[in-house]
């Protein structure tokens, strides 16, 4: 196992290098120039050229790349072209809201979706199953922002139970955190609940037809234990996979929810940076997202060994 982890960590290096090169090249090929955004609407071409030169954006691309890689090797993600702040600081400012939103979303999704999926499998072909699957399809097809605004309308504007926007840290304001995270969590969870419910249902349904389940029932095992001890555990590998992918996608993919609820997370940071062509932020964030994705995949692989002892690395 240790050698597996070491091998997986080492294997991230070439992936990260490829990601770095691709991201750098793609950004430089994308139309847009941070210097013109910085200079503002009234600036002349001459002024823009001076800013570009000052920022080193007029240097040959390979020189810019080598400079950036050199910084990366020293653990420096660079400085934001616009704010003059270190990219690492900007990411650190945004990390907590995104992690918290991802955590609450995954917890809520798993708590709701796994029992629903198991229930649907257990009641396969009945009205219960059909209702759960209809909600699952709705969860997939309902746009996140529509659900978000509907919740805001009902619970923020009409009932006034919850704030319509903003984020409070659980470390400084636990009550405020709970109030501010409820609606974004529900909004963002819908698609994951739908996804995990369907995967759980399919996996459990497959396992329920196995001989050992029949044997467990024949031995007089109660149905709850059959479902959750025998069926669910053996169906856990695909469920764990989809949950892991969900976490990885959430880290960078919650931009719509972050925008609707004004949560200052990484998703909004990357979109703002793209709109302004703030290259160091985009490059730094994509590297962070890639690294997160690789690590989560590794953790999922490790988790498999717990769910299915036959799996060995």
């Amino acid at each position: 196992m240790v050698s597996f982890i070491v091998r997986r960590v080492l294997s991230t290096l070439p992936v990260m290098i490829i990601v770095a090169i691709v991201v750098f090249a793609m950004l430089r090929l994308t139309p847009g120039d941070p210097a013109v955004v910085i200079a503002g609407d009234q600036a002349t071409a001459e002024q823009i050229a001076r800013i570009r030169s000052n920022l080193g954006l007029d240097l040959p691309i390979h020189v810019q790349f080598v400079t950036w890689i050199g910084q990366l090797l020293q653990g420096d993600l660079g400085i934001s072209i616009f704010t003059n702040m270190p990219v690492s600081t900007l990411i650190a400012q945004r990390l907590e809201p995104t992690l918290m939103l991802s955590l609450t979303t995954i917890c809520f999704s798993v708590l709701v979706a796994v029992p629903l999926g198991v229930w649907a499998a257990w009641r396969s072909g009945t009205w219960t199953d059909r209702v759960i699957m209809v909600f699952s399809v709705l969860g997939f097809s309902f746009p996140v922002f529509v659900l978000g605004y509907l919740l805001i309308y009902e619970f923020g504007l009409t009932l006034k139970w919850l704030p319509t926007q903003g984020y409070k840290s659980p470390f400084s304001d636990p009550v405020g955190f709970v109030r501010s995270i409820i609606m974004p969590t529900i909004t963002l969870s819908m698609i994951y609940i739908a996804l995990v419910t369907r995967i759980t249902r399919a996996s459990v349904l497959e396992v329920l037809s196995e001989d050992y389940i029949r044997t467990a029932r024949a031995k007089g095992q109660i149905e709850r234990k059959v479902l959750f001890r025998h069926a669910l555990k053996n169906a856990a590998v695909p469920i764990a996979t989809i949950i892991g992918i969900g976490i990885a996608l959430l880290i960078g993919g919650a931009v719509v929810t972050e925008t609707v609820f004004n949560i200052p997370g990484l998703g909004r940071l990357v979109v703002d940076a793209i709109l302004r062509r703030d290259y160091p932020i985009i490059q730094g964030l994509i590297l962070v997202f890639s690294f997160t994705y690789i690590i989560i995949n590794m953790l999922i692989d490790i988790a498999y060994t717990f769910f299915d002892p036959r799996i060995r690395y």
Partner: protein
């Protein structure tokens, strides 16, 4: 029928607005010393001299002060200056600083600081560069007197030093002002009514300004950028958020003030309890469709004239703004209602004449490229109307859709259309930037050294000089009018009219200042 995201939101929010909401949430009422604001943009750059971005300018007004400032009538008034002594030959200006002015770090504001600040501004700003070109010496005389000696009389010295919009000559400590003009400053020490809380700045989310308790305001009442700047709240917080989120937050009382309500959400907010919508900007915004004077077919003056005759201002404003309360037909290149307003030379729509002109121009079907920023709520419809109106006279129009950042890059291209060039783009200027022939960078006609479009016209430059050197207000008005006529005749750009972006605020907020620029002094959150 298709429903856009905005349509849906407007619908749900309109329903919400009609519901009986309690007046002012407890959360907002318990924080009377904090004014929570959604500004018009995300503050990313802290140096208002390095960039001309309006959000950085507004940040500048929070933390810096100016020697002179424009009042309600757009006339320069002393601000940091106590007295002004101008020599009889109009060559020597001595500006004496007021007593008690200090930087946020507690040190006194000196004439040396101001000289360094003016010099840095003079390297970046268009009006500043003009002023420095006629300046013989700019120096400090003791700690209080700033002495400006000119090579020749110059009519707009105070209008330049007191200019209201980007780049505003903000005063900074000498150590900060000595930063090269092409490098962004890092130290945000100012002497304005608020201090920037840089430690808690979260770009893209939150900017905090704390009241500067040692600020000594002028005794006069606040009047646009001039007069007494009294910070009536201890803290102003700027939150960056999406327009729909800002609307919800304003309706629920989580924010107090939204600087620019987007046109599609105005009607929703008008119906919301405890929320007010108001236009505080007397000079509004001026819409433009800019020509590229270097690239065919718009390098042909007759084609430009034909296009101007094809355009009808009313259609642009109806489409992009919609509500006539928030737009105004304006034939002047200067904001209507200001000193230099004039109808002289305006080109009215006449399709028959436009077609005739186009025929005479020799136009033979070349593609005319319009850069269309699809992410901009006003400029995008401007482009669509422009394309339709130009097509109506037989021009082969190609609308190229892109985001605003790409427009900003593409418009710098002087290449022909088949190599990434362009012929027209739409933009807007706040009225404060176009109040006279010199403030409007886009009025310039210095060719390839000038603003995008690169109009070249020696006569127009002479008219600008005549304005700068005008000996009397009458002469200045004459020069301004002549310039307008010249720009229209030369097909400088298409005037798309004047529009206003209202502010939205909770009815507990008082003391807003009417001005082309948003200021936060004088504002308070009442009980």
């Amino acid at each position: 029928m298709s429903l856009s995201r905005r349509d849906l939101l407007a619908g749900t929010a309109a329903t919400a607005a009609t519901a009986a909401l309690p007046s002012g949430p407890a959360q907002a009422q318990s924080k009377r010393n904090v004014l929570k604001v959604v500004p018009h943009a995300n503050l990313q750059i802290l140096d208002p001299i390095w960039t001309t971005g309006y959000i950085s300018r507004n940040h500048g007004y929070m933390i810096y002060d100016t020697l002179f400032a424009l009042d309600d009538n757009l006339k320069p008034q002393p601000q940091m200056v106590e007295s002004l002594d101008v020599s009889g030959d109009r060559l020597r200006y001595v500006m004496k600083l007021r007593d008690g002015l200090s930087w946020h770090d507690g040190t006194a504001v000196t004439a040396d600081d101001c000289v360094a600040s003016l010099q840095r501004w003079g390297k970046r700003d268009g009006m500043g560069q003009r002023l420095m070109a006629v300046t013989d010496k700019l120096e400090a005389d003791g700690s209080k007197n700033i002495v400006l000696t000119l090579k020749r009389p110059y009519g707009v010295v105070l209008d330049s030093i007191g200019k209201i919009s980007s780049n505003v000559p903000f005063m900074m400590p000498k150590r900060v002002a000595e930063t090269p003009a092409d490098k962004q400053i890092e130290d945000t020490t100012g002497s304005g009514p608020f201090m920037f809380n840089k430690a808690n700045w979260k770009p893209g989310n939150l900017a905090i300004y704390e009241k500067f308790k040692n600020y000594v305001p002028r005794k006069e009442a606040a009047s646009s950028a001039a007069g007494g700047k009294i910070a009536k709240v201890d803290r102003v917080e700027w939150y960056t958020m999406d327009a729909n989120t800002a609307m919800n937050a304003l309706m629920s009382g989580e924010i107090d003030y939204w600087e620019q309500v987007t046109p599609d959400l105005i009607d929703v907010l008008k119906k919301a309890p405890n929320v007010k919508i108001e236009n505080l900007d007397p000079t509004g915004n001026m819409g433009w469709a800019r020509f590229n004077h270097l690239v065919a077919p718009t390098n042909n003056p007759m084609v430009r004239q034909a296009i101007m005759k094809a355009c009808k201002q009313d259609e642009f404003l109806k489409t992009a703004i919609g509500n006539p309360d928030y737009y105004k037909l304006c034939k002047s290149i200067y904001p209507c209602g200001t000193t230099y307003e004039s109808d002289a030379g305006f080109v009215d729509q006449n399709l028959a004449d436009a077609k005739t002109l186009l025929k005479q121009s020799g136009y033979n079907g070349e593609e005319l490229v319009i850069l269309q920023p699809t992410d901009h709520p006003v400029l995008n419809p401007f482009c669509q109307v422009l394309a339709e109106q130009i097509r109506a006279i037989g021009i082969n129009v190609k609308l190229q859709a892109m985001d605003w950042s790409t427009v900003l890059q593409r418009r710098a291209s002087k290449e022909p259309n088949d190599k990434g060039g362009w012929n027209m783009f739409t933009t807007w200027w706040i009225g404060g930037d176009t109040v006279n022939p010199l403030t409007g960078v886009g009025f310039g006609a210095t060719g390839e050294k000038g603003w995008f479009g690169w109009a070249s016209d020696e006569e127009a430059i002479k008219m600008q000089d005549a304005f700068a050197n005008a000996a009397s207000p009458e002469d200045a008005k004459k020069a301004a009018t002549a310039l307008q006529q010249r720009l229209y005749a030369n097909g400088h750009y298409v005037n798309l009219g004047m529009f206003f972006v209202p502010v939205g605020y909770r009815d507990s907020v008082k003391g807003m200042i009417r001005s082309p620029v948003q200021f936060f002094w004088n504002m308070e959150v009442a009980g």
